[in-house]
């Protein structure tokens, strides 16, 4: 949002109403955690998880984030008077320092990535240089890419407002259009001719614009700027695809003689500049010091109390969220509640409606919000939030990105969002430029949630995750080389990514997809010689176009979803519960060859978790330190059975056996080898040692997910105990060809072990639970003890004094110091 400097509504929010809100917030916080807010709030004392709280809730942390004043800078001289005038008319007389810095870079033609906290006015960072360029030369064009269609619509509304002001004051007409799958066919020609600013998404660029670039010749000839909003969304598979789409985009730009400047904005991640440079293959300037003002904010961590110590079962985090939300709502504070799934969104909405809406037909003050709602309903909810008529919204991550809903008082998160970056994003949905706000994280019993809530400093005192991409994953790269060859013939001496392009093209030629003319590299070219339209077969959101479709046979058979090939057997095996939009289906038959799963609607209180046996064979070792390595592997996996897991409590309530075909995948992996020296000193029976390894792997998977900023499905784990004296644990990229997780994990080896040890040691359960080494019953009684002992021995062997075997532990000493300090404070 680029908000005007002085908003009339801000002034209208009188000091007294502001103050009364602050009082209400203080009261609610005191109720949640009596006595925890007052003393030096940033004092580490106040975050001590062990200090007994008088409250019935288990508040593990309460942090105060101090307010900050605005820092302003004047408009750079090069900014056109007409633009300055229009901005002035909208209440913007000067820029924040970070905006001015970004604008300077953009005006000078330098690629720039801006780190932007919520409500810091990121859109001005790119709208100022772009509108300036168009005012100076009306033939200039810019392309904006947003990860979702909704964001593009939101931005169009804002840009159009600004352009209307410009038109009203100086008569300059600037065309702003969205171009996506919803754009009607008959409007497309007009847009191609008239749009100065095209707002689209990577999928549309990939399949709708680049393959038809001649129709867009005017855009590409005059393309001055490319905006990539929400850069942090492009990680993993999606990011690796985007990097290739941008390679194609830049080829097309070269063809038409343009060389656009990239302007990116990102939420706080550890490596914004590196990510931008990987995606766009250019050098970037980084702007990361926000000059935007910020009100005081409290950040609270809540862990629902344990109700069954033996099984490690906690009170439902959804009920806990309901109670906490109620504390704020009954004090007339406006809140947003983030839920982890569409199902829990609907459940929480129902709870809060029950509690706070008087009677059916009364104005709806509590609303749900998620993907699947129609655009009109969404716009209505967003407006209700901005105007205050809606007092609470319960949302999936759909509202995590920059949709304008105004600034709310409190953000309550039901469950850890999965990454530090996303948590800050969601917390940022509450908070104004002045006055107090709060963010509350309610942990579920998932391991990651438990780790975070029990180790607050891991969240508060550490940089957020690194976003990783691997644009040269051969599976992804080959698809885009096809698309690129379709778009423009490849010159013999051209490059596209890290691999030898000529060798890949030669393989495509064997298939008849391209044809090479001319003999020597400098004078030859590769032309597309196929009737197909390759972009249609490539989805940017998955790695392979091979997939399973899900057919609902409850009534008239209809396709209700699809799942990529790799995860098909594990999620669509017979008797599996398939969930879509909160609706439960049971798989009745899986047609493996036909790639179809036939499901029927069902009402049950459990979901299923497949038991997959996998065997990993090392094909090539890239780096090896003796204790840990990474390289290329073959994973052969087979789904052999499944467990039925009860919703919310994660209790195991049944199981079944399955017989499905094997799947093979070449990918990259990180692995650790537990040396005989460690195994030999373990004072346990062989079976207990094995349990220790299994439990260790279970916990490592959770922590790896945390460190890699990835989804649970992105990585797989496998244990190799063929050599009982020297077992191995593999953490592999769960995508053919790998997606770039293995090397970073190898580098983070020590951190991974330390954090895994913390996760297990901190867990309140007796001998294992779903929150650490896995539920009892999965593993033996000694799994937890043995896993901890193994970890301690492994970490011990990493300490500097023991590093004499020529291994090159790649974790920096600074990291190590930080970890051990943390270990001591906990």
């Amino acid at each position: 949002m680029s908000e005007p400097r002085v908003r009339p509504s801000d002034a209208a929010t009188t000091t007294s109403s502001r103050a009364s809100k602050d009082v209400a917030l203080d009261a609610a916080l005191d109720r949640l955690a009596p006595g925890r807010r007052d003393p030096q709030p940033s004092d580490p004392q106040s975050t001590d998880p062990k200090s007994p709280a008088a409250s019935d809730l288990h508040v593990t942390a309460m942090r105060r984030l101090p307010p900050a004043d605005a820092q302003y800078a004047p408009f750079p001289d090069a900014v056109d008077g007409r633009l300055r005038d229009a901005l002035g008319a909208r209440g913007i007389e000067q820029l924040y320092t970070h905006q001015a810095e970004a604008v300077e870079h953009a005006l000078a033609g330098r690629h720039v990535v801006v780190i932007t906290p919520t409500a810091s006015g990121k859109t001005l960072c790119y709208n100022v240089p772009i509108l300036n360029a168009i005012l100076r030369d009306p033939s200039s064009r810019a392309l904006y890419l947003f990860p979702t269609k909704a964001l593009a619509q939101d931005q169009r509304a804002e840009l159009q407002g600004l352009c209307e002001t410009i038109a009203g004051r100086s008569g300059e007409q600037i065309g702003v259009f969205t171009y996506d799958g919803d754009t009607p066919q008959d409007a497309r020609r007009t847009i191609r001719a008239r749009a100065h600013l095209v707002l689209s998404n990577p999928d549309m660029l990939h399949a709708g614009i680049l393959p038809h670039h001649p129709r867009w010749a005017k855009l590409f000839e005059n393309l001055r700027y490319i905006v990539i909003d929400e850069l942090h969304a492009y990680r993993g598979v999606f990011g690796s695809h985007l990097a290739n789409v941008l390679r194609r985009l830049q080829r097309v730009c070269r063809h038409y003689g343009s060389d656009p400047v990239f302007l990116c904005s990102s939420a706080t991640i550890a490596n914004p500049r590196e990510l931008a440079e990987r995606l766009a293959d250019r050098s970037f300037e980084l702007v990361d010091k926000s000059g935007a003002p910020r009100g005081e904010k409290y950040f609270v961590f809540v862990n629902p109390p344990v109700v069954n110590h033996q099984l490690g079962i906690r009170r439902s985090y959804l009920s806990e969220t309901r109670r906490i939300a109620a504390e704020f709502l009954k004090r007339k504070l406006q809140i947003i509640v983030f839920a982890q799934s569409r199902l829990s969104t609907e459940i929480l909405t129902t709870y809060l409606k029950d509690d706070f809406e008087d009677h059916p037909g009364a104005p709806e003050r509590i609303r749900g919000y998620r993907g699947g709602y129609l655009p009109n309903r969404r716009r209505e909810i967003e407006k209700g939030l901005r105007e205050g008529a809606v007092r609470a919204v319960v949302s999936t991550n759909a509202l995590e990105l920059g949709i304008d809903i105004g600034a709310l008082d409190v953000s309550v998160m039901a469950g850890y969002p999965g990454t530090i970056a996303a948590t800050w994003q969601r917390a940022g949905r509450a908070g104004r430029r002045s006055g107090r706000s709060a963010a509350v994280l309610v942990a579920s019993s998932a391991p990651l949630d438990q780790f975070i809530v029990r180790n607050p400093s891991y969240f508060f005192d550490r940089s957020p995750e690194r976003a990783l991409v691997d644009p040269d994953n051969l599976h992804i790269l080959v698809d885009h080389i096809k698309c690129a060859a379709f778009e423009l013939p490849f010159a013999g001496n051209e490059t596209f990514g890290r691999h030898d392009l000529g060798e890949v093209l030669a393989v495509l030629a064997e298939q008849g997809l391209v044809h090479r003319s001319g003999e020597d590299a400098d004078h030859s070219s590769w032309t597309w010689t196929s009737e197909s339209y390759p972009a249609d077969a490539v989805s940017l959101r998955s790695i392979s176009s091979d997939n399973f479709v899900i057919v609902d046979t409850t009534g008239e058979p209809r396709v209700i979803g699809e799942t990529d090939f790799t995860s098909g057997p594990a999620t669509l095996h017979p008797k599996a519960i398939y969930i879509i939009e909160g609706q439960l289906f049971q798989v009745e038959r899986l047609d493996f060859e036909g790639r179809k799963a036939f499901v029927r609607e069902i009402d049950c209180d459990y979901y299923t978790d497949a038991i997959t046996y996998s065997r990993v064979t090392i094909l090539d070792t890239f780096e090896d330190t003796g204790s840990h390595s990474h390289g290329e592997v073959r994973v052969v996996s087979r789904v052999v059975g499944f467990k039925k897991i009860k919703f919310y409590t994660n209790e195991n309530v049944g199981s079944g056996e399955l017989d499905l075909p094997e799947q093979q995948m070449h990918t990259t992996s990180y692995w650790i080898t537990v040396p005989p020296a460690v195994i030999d000193v373990l004072p346990y029976a062989p079976d207990d040692r094995r349990d220790g390894i299994v439990g260790l792997a279970f916990a490592m998977r959770q922590v790896a997910q945390l460190l890699l900023m990835c989804d649970r499905h992105d990585i797989g784990i496998s244990i190799d105990t063929a050599e009982p004296a020297e077992p191995r644990i593999f953490v592999y990229d769960n995508y053919p060809g790998g997606i770039g997780f293995s090397q970073p994990l190898h580098r983070l080896h020590r951190e991974l072990l330390e954090a895994t040890r913390l996760l297990i040691a901190e867990c309140a359960c007796e001998s294992g639970c779903p929150g650490c080494v896995g539920p009892v019953g999965n593993t033996g009684p000694l799994a937890k003890t043995a896993a901890l002992r193994i970890l301690e021995l492994l970490i011990d062997r990493l300490s500097p004094g023991r590093l004499s075997t020529g291994s090159t532990g790649s974790t920096g000493p600074a990291d190590a110091a930080q970890i051990s300090e943390e270990a001591m404070t906990s």
Binding site: P211, H212, H213, P214, R215, A217, Y256, L474, H475, V478, A485, F486, E487, L488, P489, H499, D500, E503, V504, A506, V507, L508, E510, Q511, G512, H515, S517, G518, S525, T527, W528, T529, S530, E531, S532, Y533, P534, A535, H666, P736, G737
Partner: protein
């Protein structure tokens, strides 16, 4: 695994066997196989094949020389056949592309562009540009632009939706201005559908049906891209000979069909051979405002339409609308009644006819009970909502008028009773 092997495993393709390795350039070259010539242009080479049909040669039932004669005699009628910007003028330039696919996008291009025109002496000449080597496309487009610039009207078959946008995109690809914009462009597909649309409306189908010149040994369209790719890989141009011939024949037939259409427009309804042609001619005449000819054409269509109920209802409807426009209401009503008499009349036409008759009865014939009966008939459960709302509105008005009339009738009875006169029988 090396990169090639990994790429093959990604593509799930086996390594190539040695046998399929074709050494380029072993077959006969293009000149030898196709009989054209190379020309230097715009820094690259252009391969051109020309062919001429003598005026005395026959194309099915028609003489080539007659095609030229009809085209030049009836050129002024071209405007009635299509939505032409600018006045269509001779000379006509027929064009047709053979492309590397139908999917569109930058990877689809024309490897063969054929142009055809009639010469002064009545012969028909085709000129084809073949993309015989990489890098020749720009020169080919420039040569085409120069051919276009010598023409008065472009004529194609489905060219407005396919060929012209494709050339336009290729021009944009090479940063060339697209010359086709300034010329009137007649797309024969649309009038052909109207005049002969009952059966196979492909060029090859029409050729057999209308021109009496069935093809034999033609290369089917789906084989064409593959033959070109084969030529690129092997250098052997022989598979292309059939493609060139296919394209030449398309051009000649396109010219012959255009001539036939213009002849029909010029000669009027008497020349039409069946109900459909007559009906289509009526539409064409109506469009250019020759209503007298339009009426005759529709009447002929109706007369010839025995056994063709679909054409019959359309012709009756068209005539009814024309009559109403000319304020011959009784004649229009007669047509609408005939519409309702056609067996298996499509419901949307039946309700349109019933509505028209209800209006006629209410406002012209002033017969309210009949109007009410037709209005009831025009109710249709399958119609869109607004339709039935309008009908109900009409019915309510008719009922009001009918009850007003009834009470007026009662009043007159009262008057009669008081005055002692007997009501008329």
């Amino acid at each position: 695994m090396n990169l090639s092997e990994r790429a093959r495993s990604v593509l799930r393709t086996p390594p190539p066997s040695q046998a399929v390795h074709v050494v380029a350039g072993t077959g006969p070259g293009v000149e030898h196989a196709l009989g054209g010539e190379w020309r230097e242009a715009d820094g690259s080479r252009l391969f051109i094949v020309e062919r001429c049909w003598d005026a005395r040669a026959r194309h099915g039932a028609i003489r080539v020389g007659d095609i030229a004669a009809e085209l030049s005699a009836n050129a002024s009628h071209a405007a009635s056949l299509g939505n032409l910007s600018g006045g269509p003028a001779p000379p006509f330039l027929f064009f047709d592309l053979e492309t590397t696919g139908l999917s569109g996008g930058a990877g689809t291009y024309a490897f063969l562009i054929g142009c055809g025109w009639c010469e002064e002496d009545g012969s028909f000449r085709t000129r084809q540009y073949l993309l015989a080597e990489h890098g020749g496309e720009r020169a080919m487009l420039l040569a085409l632009a120069s051919d276009f610039s010598r023409s008065g009207t472009l004529v194609s078959f489905n060219g407005k939706s396919f060929d012209a946008p494709l050339i336009e995109a290729r021009c944009a690809f090479h940063r060339l201005a697209w010359a086709g914009h300034e010329r009137p462009h007649l797309d024969v597909l649309h009038p052909a559908r109207r005049f002969w649309g009952d059966g196979d409306c492909s060029l090859v189908g029409l050729e057999a049906q209308i021109l009496g010149a069935p093809r034999s040994g033609d290369v089917p369209g789906f084989e064409i891209p593959g033959r070109y790719f084969q030529f690129l890989r092997s250098g052997d141009a022989r598979p292309l000979a059939g493609v060139l011939e296919h394209n030449q024949r398309d051009l000649l037939s396109l010219a012959a069909l255009s001539a036939r259409l213009l002849r029909l427009v010029d000669a009027g309804p008497a020349e039409t051979r069946d109900a459909r042609e007559a009906f289509a001619l009526g539409g064409v005449s109506l469009r250019v405002g020759v209503t007298g000819q339009a009426r005759k054409a529709f009447e002929r269509a109706i007369a010839l339409s025995t056994g063709l109920p679909s054409v019959r209802v359309q012709a009756l409807r068209a005539l009814a609308l024309l009559e109403r426009r000319e304020r011959r209401f009784e004649a229009a009503a007669a047509c609408w009644r005939d519409v309702l008499d056609v067996p298996r009349c499509p419901p949307q036409l039946a309700r349109e006819a019933a509505e028209a008759l209800a209006i006629h009865a209410e406002h012209r014939a002033r017969d309210l009970p009949v109007a009410r009966a037709f209005a009831l008939k025009s109710l249709d459960g399958d119609a869109r909502r607004g339709w039935n709302d309008a009908v109900r509105h009409r019915l309510a008005r008719l009922d009001r008028k009918l009850s007003d009339e009834a009470s007026a009738g009662r009043r007159s009875l009262l008057v009669q009773a008081e005055t002692g006169f007997d009501p008329p029988a």
